[in-house]
Symmetry: C2
Subunit: 373 residues, 2 copies
C-alpha cells in the first residue's frame, strides 16, 4: 500500500510529524511543571490518544459524551467533559461514572450547579471561567463564581476546580500578543481559583489551555493542568499564528485531479468542502489560504497554488496571485495526486471516517475515527 | 419518544414538509415533461430516496462512488455519478456495473474519455457541459465537446448524452435572474446536445439541474431529465433565493441551551459548527443568517435571534440587530430546546449519522445516513 493507490479523497496523517508534535507539547508541559490533558476532539481517534498518553499525557478532555464513552471503552478513565453540561445529559454522565469512569463536568451558572447537585454525588465538577470574553464561563471576579462554588460544595458535589479556554488567542497577530494572551489566561484562571480558596472552598485543579497559549506561555505558576487539542496535527491557522511550522503540519487531504479549466488556470480535484470542511479560519489572518494550501503528493508545498473554491465534491485550485497559468494540465495531468493542507485540522478531520497513516512515503496503517453524538 | 427527550444536538427532519417538497418538485417536473433524477448527496439516506422514487423519480444522481454502492445495495440500479471520473476510480465503477448497476459517469476532457474507453465497455458516459463558468465542463460551442464525443463513440463507449449543473444560480438575486439562469442552463446544454447530433454522434440524454433553476425554469424544451438535491430539505440559502418558503424548510438541528452570557445577551447552545457545519452560504445574500436561524422547539421562528458564532460544540445565539437583550435566561432557561435552521442543508446534514424524523410534534422514526467515501 502506498499513497498512490489510496482511494481519494482521504485524510493522511504523517506519523512522524504527529509524534514530533506530541513530544513537543509534552516536553513543554513537563518543563512548565503542569500535567497535559489533551483534547481528543481534534482526532477522535483511540490510536492518537494512546500515543499522547504514552508520551506522558494524564487524562483526556472531550467535547461530547460520545467521546467520553468511546474513550472510556478504550481504557481512558480520567475524562473532563469540557462543554457546560445541561440537565438532560446528567443521567448519561452519571451512568459513565457508575461504570468506573473518573468523569468531570463543567458548569458556569448556579442553575447548572444545582442540577448537578440534584443528580447526586460522583461526578467531579469544575467551574468554567471566562478569561477572554469569547464564549462561556463566569468572570473571575464575579459574585457568581463564588455562588456556584458554594452551591456545589454545600450540596455535596466534588468541587474539583476551575477551568478556562482562551479561544480568543486564535485572533492574536504576533508572538507578543500570544505571550500576553497566555499570561492573561493563566493569571485570570489562577485568580478565580484563589477567590474560591479565599472563600473557604476547595479548588485543587486549575486547568487552562488552547494550543496557541500552551505553546506561548512563559510560565504557568498556579496552573495544574493544560488542555490542548489541535497541536497533535497542527494546521494552517496555527502556522499563521506562528505556533506551528510547515514541517509540523501532520494532517492533509490526499486528492486526485479530476479536470481543468484551462482558460482560467483552474485545476479541479475530488476534495471539495465535504473533504476540507467549510472552515475559512485563515481568512482574517496574515495569509489567507482559501480552502487549503496545496502540496504535491510527497507533501512539498506548491506555493503558487491555493484552493480558491469548494463545492461538495469539487475543489478548485488556482494561482494564489490570481494569474492564469496555462500549463496546469501539463503540470497536473488528470489523475495526478495532490495533498491539501487544511485551515483547521479539527474541522477537516471530522469529515473523514478514518485516517490513512503515512510513515515516510509509505501508507502504513488505517486508524479509525468516529463522529456524531 | 418526542423531541423533548431526544439527545442533542440531533438532525430533525419534518416528514410532512419533506413529503411536500418531494411532491412539489415531482409535480413540477411532470408538468415540464422531464424525468426527475434526484441528487441523493443531500440526504445520503435510503429512506429519503425511496420516497423520492415512490413519488415518481426515475434514477438517482450521486456525488461519490460510495453513494453509488450504498444506493445500489438498497435497490437503486440507475445511477449517474455526477463528478468527473478519474482513471483510478474506473475499476470501482466497472465493478459496480458488472454487478448489474446501470451506472453512468461523466467526463469533460479527451484524456478522461480515453481513460473510460480504455477501461472497456459497459459504463454509460455523459459529457459535462459548462453553462455558467462556475466549475467543471466543456463549453457548448467548443471543439473539445465534439472531440470528446468522437473519442467515446469511436472507442466503443456508450455516449449517453450531455449534462450540466448551473451551480452559479446560487448567486442570483431575484426571480427574473433565476428564470434567465434556468433558461441559460437549458439552452446551452440543449445546444451542446444538438452540436453532438449534428456531428453524427448519439445524444439521447440532456440532463440539467440545480434546485434553484429546476424551481424557476419556465420551459425545458430539449431537456430529458433534471437533477436536483437540496430541494428535498430546502434551507436558508434557498429561502433567500425565493425558491423555498419558511414552511418548506424540513431540516433543522435540535439544540439545548447550555448557558448564557447575560451582559452580552448571548444564549449558548450545544450545536456548534460540528453540528451546523461552517457553511455561511447566506453571508452574501439578502439576509445573512449567520450560522443558522433560530426557532423554538416547535419550529416557530424567533425572528429576533440568529446564531452569531460557532465553536466546535458551542453555538452562540444573539439578537439579530446587535442589541443586548437581558432576559435571555428567563426566555430560554438552561436546558430549554431550540431548533436551528441551516444555511445549507447538504453541509449540515453531512455532520450527522442519522435523522430524527418528526411527524407533527412527535419524533416518529430514526433514519440512518452515511458519510465518507
Amino acid at each position: 500500500m502506498n499513497i498512490h493507490t489510496l482511494a481519494t479523497p482521504c485524510a493522511l496523517v504523517d506519523e512522524e510529524r504527529m509524534a514530533h508534535n506530541i513530544a513537543r507539547m509534552q516536553t513543554r508541559m513537563d518543563a512548565l511543571g503542569v500535567k497535559l490533558r489533551p483534547h481528543v476532539k481534534t482526532a477522535k481517534c483511540i490510536a492518537v490518544a494512546q500515543r499522547q498518553r504514552a508520551a506522558g499525557a494524564q487524562g483526556i478532555t472531550v467535547s461530547t459524551l460520545k467521546e467520553a464513552e468511546q474513550f472510556f471503552a478504550a481504557g481512558f478513565d480520567d475524562i473532563l467533559y469540557a462543554v457546560c453540561i445541561t440537565p438532560a445529559k446528567l443521567a448519561q454522565a452519571r451512568a459513565l461514572q457508575a461504570r468506573g469512569c473518573r468523569l468531570s463536568v463543567i458548569v458556569d451558572s448556579v442553575d447548572a450547579a444545582q442540577a448537578v447537585v440534584a443528580a447526586g454525588q460522583g461526578l467531579g465538577v469544575l467551574i468554567e471561567v471566562d478569561t477572554d470574553g469569547h464564549r462561556a464561563g463566569v468572570l473571575p471576579d464575579s459574585d457568581t463564581l463564588i455562588a456556584i462554588g458554594r452551591t456545589l460544595h454545600s450540596g455535596g458535589a466534588e468541587l474539583v476546580g476551575v477551568m478556562t479556554h482562551a479561544g480568543g488567542s486564535y485572533g492574536c497577530r504576533d508572538d507578543a500578543a500570544l505571550v500576553a494572551f497566555a499570561e492573561q489566561e493563566r493569571s485570570r484562571c489562577v485568580a478565580a481559583a484563589q477567590r474560591l480558596r479565599d472563600a473557604g472552598l476547595p479548588c485543587p485543579v486549575v486547568s487552562v489551555g488552547s494550543t496557541p497559549t500552551a505553546l506561548s506561555a512563559r510560565q504557568l505558576d498556579g496552573v495544574t493542568e493544560v488542555r490542548a487539542g489541535v497541536y497533535v496535527f497542527q494546521d494552517l491557522v496555527m502556522l499563521n499564528l506562528g505556533v506551528a511550522k510547515r514541517d509540523e503540519l501532520a494532517l492533509s487531504v490526499l486528492a486526485s485531479v479530476i479536470g481543468h479549466q484551462l482558460d482560467k488556470g483552474w485545476i479541479l480535484v475530488d476534495a471539495g468542502w465535504m473533504a476540507m470542511s467549510r472552515d475559512r479560519g485563515t481568512q482574517a489572518q496574515a495569509v489567507d489560504h482559501g480552502y487549503g494550501a496545496v502540496c504535491d503528493a510527497q507533501g512539498q508545498w506548491l506555493d503558487d497554488l491555493v484552493m480558491v473554491g469548494a463545492n461538495q465534491e469539487h475543489g478548485i485550485l488556482a494561482a494564489r496571485d490570481g494569474s492564469v497559468t496555462r500549463d496546469v494540465a501539463q503540470r497536473f495531468p488528470l489523475g495526478s495526486r495532490l495533498r491539501i493542507l487544511p485551515n483547521h485540522a479539527c474541522a477537516t478531520a471530522a469529515q473523514f471516517p478514518a485516517y490513512s497513516v503515512t510513515s515516510g512515503s509509505a501508507a502504513a496503517a488505517t486508524w479509525e475515527r468516529f463522529g456524531g453524538w
